[in-house]
Amino acid sequence: MTGISATPAVHGHGLATGEPVVRARSLVKRFGDITAVDGVDFTIRSGEAFGFLGRNGAGKTSTMRMIGCVSPPSDGRLTVLGMDPVREGASVRARLGVCPQEDNLDLELTARQNLTTYARYFRITRAEARRRADDLLRFVQLDDRAASKVEPLSGGMKRRLTIARALINDPEIVLLDEPTTGLDPQARHLVWERLFQLKQRGITLVLTTHYMEEAEQLCDRLVIMDGGRIVAQDAPRALIDAHCTKEVVELRFAAEDHESCADKLVGIGSHVEVLPDRLLLYTDDGDAIVPTVYERGLRPSGVLVRRSGLEDVFLHLTGRTLVEA
């Protein structure tokens, strides 16, 4: 164990980078009549940061729980670290780190106790558990709160502590279910920074998110999920290039019928998306076409030219926005 220290270190696991560590084929998860995951295929390779992007209820968490060996697949095939998550669940879990969507820390124990007691589940000796706990508390910048109870800690601190707990067994794969949902921007950036450091150390990160920014910044590759299915998978940039124009012009209109405005925009750019609060005009050169909008007699109250992103890919593929407006 090289330990999580402040200095970047080559990770001590024997896995060659790029080796498949999670392999899903026609994977299905049903809860009664509801099919949460509807036949998905993906391969996660060691050392990469792999994302599941989608709205709430898209099947991301169910997929993560199957990878985490806590929820048996209803159908299809899944291997994690070359093992069967149902028959060899405990052996797989010994090599995973899990950061669930909701923090499930013990609020009555101290930050350090949360780590040391959890370490023992992985058959780590008491002395080693204390050493790792102190290292990890430093890593997530909670060393000054080591002896305080968890209950009064802020949401961002609890999240970082949960991430530290997920690292206690020096895992090869870390599963992060919506790691920054509910955090304020500053807390979110601190988490991203730490996750980025883990990635640089060669730890495989698997995360779900409905934040486009998170997916773009952290993920080497990602799948877009909608209604239990994977609708696209690739590197973020490749997805944007494949499904979108380079730029987007966002047009806002004060109290006007968006549909009729959209009709007047036909022929400008490659296509138009109508959202409840704005119109999106896709084009490779935004600044060049804005004058045309005015020439057609439209008077938008707001005009914004931006680069296209995963949000646009998602909208294009599913017809819906990623985050409910």
């Binding site: 809860f31 985490g68 806590v70 929820s71 048996p72 405990a90 052996s91 879990r93 010994a94 995973l96 899990v98 669930p100 909701e102 499930n104 820390l105 013990d106 609020l107 009555e108 124990l109 106790q113 007691t117 959890y118 023992r120 589940y121 992985f122 058959r123 707990r165 067994n169």
Partner: protein, 254 residues
């Protein structure tokens, strides 16, 4: 390397370490109140009749120590387990580690056994002070009480893993614990009960525990051979464990 259930036990003890002194304080207060109110006051009437082989205070003390074990076990095996499933999601965090459901249950049963044993030792000190101990065998009483605790906690685990509200938990604790206290020979011999009720007492963990505690603290002979009483308690523990195991698996494995 220690068994994973020991790691779960350590986790529960980490929480217990914070509160154990106050639990000991209440374990001292409860028998003092009962001994004065029931044992001495009510006892002054009961003892006039001379129907019992020992003074009333001595008669109820072993019953109450067994009941204290039951009460703690039902408390620790019920609501906190539901909390660990539903609100604190402690079991989710354990399930993500290389622990098995059996480890989670064994670890908490071990904790409850220790928790009950500590309370029983405190209780025993009060019994000594009130002069209700008449046998050196009394030293094994905490172990007997711990067995009563495990026998009652295991089925409570199963129940806590099956319900979804604190209300359901409270209702069942109430309708289970109070009748058991009244009809398990704590305050009067079960022979005083109507014949058709008696068999109910015989199969309940508390009566079997009370019989054993009277044997260890007063050297009274048990209704059945001691090993039969022990076997009933072990059966409750084993049956409860099996039930809890299947309920935990169902709840965690969705």
């Amino acid at each position: 390397m220690a068994h994973p259930s020991v790691a779960v036990l350590e986790y529960h003890l980490a929480g217990y370490r914070r509160v154990w002194l106050s639990t000991v304080a209440s374990s001292l207060a409860m028998p003092i109140l009962f001994f004065i109110g029931m044992g001495l006051a009510v006892g002054s009437f009961v003892d006039r009749g001379g129907a019992l082989p020992v003074p009333y205070l001595q008669y109820i003390a072993p019953g109450l120590i067994a009941f204290a074990g039951l009460q703690i076990a039902v408390g620790e095996g019920g609501f906190p387990v539901l909390t660990n499933f539903k609100w604190q999601k402690v079991y989710d965090s354990m399930a993500a580690a290389p622990l098995r459901v059996g480890d989670m249950i064994l670890g908490r049963l071990g904790y409850i056994a220790i928790r009950v044993m500590v309370a029983a030792i405190a209780f025993l000190v009060v019994m000594l002070a009130f002069g209700t101990v008449g046998s050196v065998l009394a030293v094994v009483t905490p172990v007997v009480v711990a067995l009563v605790g495990v026998a009652s906690a295991a089925p409570m685990f199963a129940l806590a893993a099956s319900v979804n509200s604190a209300n359901a938990m409270a209702v069942i604790s109430r309708i289970g614990v109070l009748p058991m206290m009244l009809f398990s020979g704590v305050f009067f011999p079960v022979e005083q009960l109507p014949a058709f009720v008696r068999p109910v007492a015989y199969v309940l963990p508390l009566w079997n525990g009370v019989e054993l505690c009277r044997a260890t603290t007063l050297a009274m002979t048990t209704t059945w051979p001691a090993f039969v009483h022990v076997a009933v308690l072990v059966a409750w523990a084993a049956g409860g464990f099996w039930l809890a195991w299947s309920r935990f698996r169902k709840r965690l494995g969705s």
